[in-house]
Amino acid sequence: MKKDTVIRFMIMIASLAVASYLACILTPMQSDISQEKNFLTKAPVAGLHKFFADVAWMRFINFAGGLSSIDSTNVDKVSRMLEKIIAYDPNFVESYQSGVLSISNADPKLAVKLLEQACANPHLAHNIQIPFYAGFILSRTIVDQNNPDKILSEPDYAAAARFFRMAIQRTRDPESYLISNYIHAKAKARGGEESLAVLSVLYDEWKMSKAGKDEIYSDYCQIPDIEERLVKATREAKYPIDDEGRLLKPSQKALELIAKVQQEILFKKHLCENCVTPAAPGDKFCGTCGHAVKTWGVCSCGHILSSKAYCTRCGKKQ
């Protein structure tokens, strides 16, 4: 064998070994860098997934824009178009926020399935709207627009609460609507009297927020204004109203929970025991219901204290 042939053969084997070795390193490395590749369609599109997603998105807009509404007659085609976009580009936020939402009234189950997949996508891990939309769809009864007697989806409050919680956990400063939806979905999942359920949910959340760091609750999320919400929920539980706005008598269970909440959590808030309205410093009676309240914020000299460290009349340290 000629020397030249041997050298070329050795170079070939060495470069093959290097390429194979690097491929072994690069393939998992690429999966880590581009996690969406694991969700992509396996169709041979020569790496043009993103471009095909854009084209499919424009086709979807053209098609959906020409429809008077998306209902049971056309939802299958619209859904297929959306699934194609998502298969090409699972990170395509608009396809979830505008696309999937557009089919939620016609095929709520598929809409939730697609949104759930998006919730598992690491690239969309900070998106609040996607889990919120999933929770929103799940917390409603959706009927067929062409046949109102046909129910397409019954509310699943437990699942809705899970999605709302996910949305809250994705932000440091959750919007009020997220928290309200979460609390109400969780309360409805518990069933029974709604105002009592809301109070019981908030009480449990408060207990979990006070628990030690070692105790991890899977169904807990940080609610920033929980005590204010507890005050409101206590008031609503004490004076529940029916669907027509008539005042009802609170149940024994509700009264027990209200007493517990007032004793454990709200005692520092100086609330009227009767109507749960905050009493101002020096008040002897509630300004809302006239019930006697425990007086607070008064110096021994009788002067009503401001938030300062010393009484402004006698100079006594507070």
Binding site: I33, P44, M58
Partner: protein
């Protein structure tokens, strides 16, 4: 080395001398610019679309440049130009290497012009600074010309003018569409080319940076694979009867 560079310079000069190449680059820039008009049709998705269009057109341009060698080598073999060249002190391996290097240089210049123009158009249209991942995605696309050129040389050496470009484009297409078999890295990326390793188009759109280490390693992979394929081609070329 000087023989390789002589062949290489002949190849890239042939391509870069053609005025039509610059006209096509201009057309690509126009197409990239037109993407900004798709604001309504895409419901505000025109910005990612422009980046996508620039990357896709650049990828097509890269493929077309490497395809040119699949016409050139069989033509030179048929017309006896290669035979004349090979009667001199030039070896067959050097001829192949020169062709591969030449096509790489031509591809680098053309794709770099397209990338630079597209990024400038993007920056001017949206009054935005060009993000790092956009550069990185274009850079990797340009580097992918190295293994693509060796694939083109491989097919151009073994097959006639009609079959070589078709086979090259099919091979490039499937080398980008690794799918599930990409999980067998020794085969895919070793024996068979895995051009999907250079595919980070979505990173340019979603502004996700690509680690420098990855970029270095994938460049080394491209060179190693090109070397392997060129050496393999040289064995076939050595025994090929050239009139």
């Amino acid at each position: 080395m000087s023989e390789i560079m002589a062949i290489a310079s002949g190849t890239w000069k042939n391509i870069l001398r053609m005025k039509v190449v610059y006209f096509l680059i201009f057309c690509v820039w126009v197409l990239v610019g037109i993407a900004s008009m798709y604001e309504i049709l895409t419901i505000g998705h025109h910005k990612p679309l422009m980046m996508d269009v620039s990357l896709v057109l650049n990828a097509i341009a890269a493929s077309l440049v490497v395809l040119s060698v699949t016409f050139e080598i069989p033509r030179e073999l048929r017309q006896g130009v290669a035979a004349t060249l090979l009667t001199k002190s030039l070896g067959r391996t050097q001829y192949l290497a020169g062709k591969a290097v030449g096509i790489c240089v031509a591809g680098f210049v053309i794709c770099a012009l397209i990338a630079a123009g597209s990024l400038i158009i993007y920056a001017l249209t949206f009054s935005e600074a060009i993000a790092g991942p956009m550069f990185q995605a274009h850079f990797l696309l340009i580097i992918s010309i190295i293994p693509m050129a060796s694939m083109a040389v491989f097919f151009a050496t073994l097959f006639p003018e009609v079959a070589a470009p078709v086979l090259t484009i099919i091979a490039i297409w499937f080398a980008y569409s690794t799918g599930i078999i990409a999980n067998i890295p020794v085969v895919y990326g070793g024996l068979l080319p895995n051009l999907d390793l250079f595919n980070f188009k979505s990173h340019a759109v979603y502004l996700k940076p690509i680690p420098i280490l990855y970029m270095i390693l994938v460049t080394v992979w491209g060179i190693a694979y090109a070397l392997f394929l060129l050496m393999l081609t040289s064995f076939f070329f050595k025994v090929k009867d050239i009139k």
